[in-house]
């Protein structure tokens, strides 16, 4: 007897099916009110659970959003402080460089002005005094009569006056020449004065420009401190931009690292062998990767000790003496590794040539020609150069890496908030679907038991008609009695 035979009420499977269906319909009909209640309760439970879950998710989203805001503002505050600090450093440098010399400039200006003043005084024109005995000419001229002696005296006076006049003109010219000389002497002092004033103007303008920049940064900083929405939006947008730029630069750096890897992986097999493997990766490739990673680490530390990046607070907190020592240590290791890479690149070229020679000796033909390439030195030099330069180029990965790490927090926060919002929306949607589905399920339930329901309605309809007619008759009779 199979499992299916249990359901066989009669020998015909169709008839058995119909019997079971009728039974099921009747059972469902009798359990209708309870089933409706169960469906409603079940859907309500799910709806409430979804609603509560959505609310919890939204609370989590709010918390994450607030946390993101805090982190963003903290990062922005730190960045703004760094910028303002740098601007003040620049102002300090400008003041030290230019305005520290201001007393000297002032002294120079005073000296120049004194010299110019002296020259000016010396260049003033003093009108020559008229000769005193000119009045004597008037007196002689007033002598009455036409005495020839008077004429003779006047002629003598005239001659004397002409002579005196010539001398006076000569002296006047000499003095004018001296004044001109003084004025000429003033010119370089004027020019120097102008130059000194120009320097002062430049320094002051530079300070003004810096102060304007500081004003702008201070305004941003105030916005961040006040935690305004505008500041948050600005920081978020800036963070996303920085994330994508840093990711792009890092992708370029990864390309450089891959080239570097290919350059040294093969020659490393000459040192560590190329047949042993760790987790399926040849040991020479692992060694090459380790060298590149060590170079990256040294580059990071070097940038850190130079205070270009701030990924490791411990290094940043070191005193200057230790820090400078570390700078030289990291640089020396990096230089050593660069030389190692250049050597490995050279070795790679030698190995390639050896391979070509071996293949040529075994197979003959094209390999022999390739083995005797006269311009081989160009490839060798290029490989060695790349091997030497790439470790230093990879050093600068620290800058985009720092930006990437910092902006990644913001991006992850934004993505997390978005995911939580989508999650909450989905939960609400499912809850509402289930809520409205309860009606649909009830309708479907009633559809399955439509036959008994129809019968029930028909019976009730007849009963109601009968009742109505009875009621009408009794009313009619009562009316008659009245």
């Amino acid at each position: 007897m199979s499992k299916g035979d249990i359901f066989m009420v009669v020998s015909s499977p169709i008839l058995s099916g119909i019997i079971w269906l009728v039974l099921l319909v009747f059972v469902m009909y009798f359990a209708r009110s309870l089933a409706h209640l169960a469906i409603r309760s079940f859907c309500r439970v799910i709806h409430n659970a979804m609603r509560l879950s959505a609310r919890a998710v939204m609370r989590a989203e709010t918390r994450l959003n607030n946390r993101n805001r805090e982190v963003l503002l903290a990062q922005g505050k730190e960045a703004a402080e760094r910028i303002i600090e740098r601007e003040f450093d620049r102002i300090d440098a400008t003041v030290r460089r230019d305005l520290a010399e201001y007393p000297t400039l002032h002294r120079q200006l005073s000296e120049e002005i004194t010299v110019i003043d002296d020259d000016y005084k010396n260049s003033t024109e003093v009108p020559p005094d008229p000769p005193g005995w000119v009045k004597a000419v008037d007196a002689v001229a007033k002598i009455p009569g036409k005495d020839p002696m008077v004429a003779s005296i006047l002629e003598d006076i005239h001659a004397s006056m002409i002579k005196a006049n010539t001398q006076a003109i000569e002296e006047y010219r000499k003095s004018s020449h001296k004044r001109h000389e003084h004025l000429k002497h003033m010119m370089p002092h004027w020019r120097k004065l102008r130059s000194v004033l120009g320097q002062v103007d430049k320094s002051v303008n530079s300070l003004l420009t810096r102060s304007q920049a500081i004003d702008r940064h201070m305004e941003e900083y105030e916005g961040i401190v006040k935690q305004t929405d505008k500041a948050v939006r600005m920081l978020s947008s800036s963070s996303l931009t920085q994330f994508f730029i840093a990711a792009f630069v890092l992708a370029v750096a990864v390309g450089g690292a891959l080239i570097n890897f290919n350059l040294i992986a093969r020659p490393m097999s000459e040192m560590v062998g190329g047949t042993s493997r760790i987790m399926g990766i040849p040991i020479n490739q692992i060694a090459a990767m380790v060298i590149i990673l060590v170079e990256l680490a040294m580059g990071l530390f070097l940038m850190e000790t130079l205070r270009i990046t701030r990924l490791f607070p411990v290094i940043g907190a070191l005193n200057d003496k230790t820090r400078i020592r570390l700078v030289w240590t990291f640089f020396s290791i990096l230089l050593f590794l660069a030389f190692v890479e250049a050597g490995l690149a050279f070795m790679r070229d030698l190995l390639m040539q050896d391979d070509v020679r071996t293949t040529a000796s075994l197979l003959g033909g094209q390999g022999a020609a390739a083995a005797k390439n006269p311009n081989q030195w160009i490839t060798t030099a290029a490989q060695m150069g790349m091997g030497f330069v790439l470790p230093f180029a990879l050093m600068f990965v620290a800058i985009p890496l720092e930006t990437f790490v910092h902006s990644l927090r913001t991006v992850l926060g934004v993505v997390g908030v978005s995911l939580l919002r989508v999650c909450a929306w989905l939960l609400r949607l499912i809850g509402n679907i289930v809520r409205f589905m309860s009606n649909a399920l009830i309708q479907l339930y009633d559809l399955i038991i439509f036959a008994p329901l129809w019968i029930e309605r028909a019976i009730r309809g007849k009963q109601a008609d009968k009742k109505d007619s009875t009621d009408t008759a009794s009313v009619y009779l009562e009316g008659k009695k009245i």
Partner: protein, 215 residues
């Protein structure tokens, strides 16, 4: 400090546990060269194949060339065998030396009266199993016509599980031209023997395109 040393030690032990020996990634090739009768004329072709294989093998791989003569189940018939060094430069030197040894052999080889291919195969299986290489290839450079000396027992089942047996340059004999069914029967007999032993069977007769050997 002790804790740091312990962590480092555990890391090293873990990594060494993850590491695998070269034998699990390398390949071993054993080439049987038929030196019986008129087939010695084909030895220049064998030299080509040997050089091709030498050019294709990597550091850490194993290669052996042995001759098939009257009784081939002996190490004395191995012309040269090497496991190439880890270092590429040393491996190249070894390849060149190998090639020279084969050259010398070809110059002084004498044709043998009988052809014991099964004995050679048994020797190849033993050698490659000892070498414990990841991939095991046996090349049979022969017309595949076995001719055993009376008294030699070679009716032995071959244990070729994990082996790739490749017949190269299977020349057609005069009798094959008269009745090609003989040639076909020879090939099918060897195929059946190899497949029955658990190995795979291929035939490469195009000497210009030997790349399929390592496919």
């Amino acid at each position: 400090m002790k804790k740091i040393c312990l962590v480092l030690l555990l890391t090293l032990v873990g990594l060494s546990g993850c590491s695998k020996f070269s034998s699990q990634y390398n390949q071993g090739v054993y080439m049987l060269v038929d030196t019986s009768g008129t087939y010695t004329k084909e030895l220049s072709q064998a030299k080509k194949i040997i050089n091709f294989i030498l050019a294709k093998l990597n550091p850490g791989d194993t290669f052996a060339v042995a001759q098939v003569n009257t009784g081939s189940f002996t190490q004395k018939d191995i012309i040269d065998k090497r496991t190439f060094d880890d270092r590429p430069s040393m491996a190249n030197d070894q390849k060149r030396e190998f090639s020279k040894v084969v050259d010398k052999f070809i110059k002084k080889v004498r044709p043998s009266a009988y052809t014991d291919i099964t004995g050679g195969l048994l020797q190849a299986i033993e050698f490659l199993n000892e070498a414990n290489t990841n991939r095991k290839i046996i090349l049979i450079f022969s017309d595949l016509k076995e001719d055993l000396r009376p008294g030699y027992v070679r009716n032995i089942p071959l244990k070729l599980k994990g082996f790739e047996v490749i017949a190269v340059n299977v020349t057609k004999l005069h009798s094959d031209n008269v009745d090609p069914r003989e040639y076909m029967k020879r090939l099918s007999d060897w195929k059946r023997k190899v497949v029955k032993g658990g190995g795979s069977w291929r035939v490469i007769n195009d000497m210009q395109h030997l790349d399929p050997i390592f496919q």
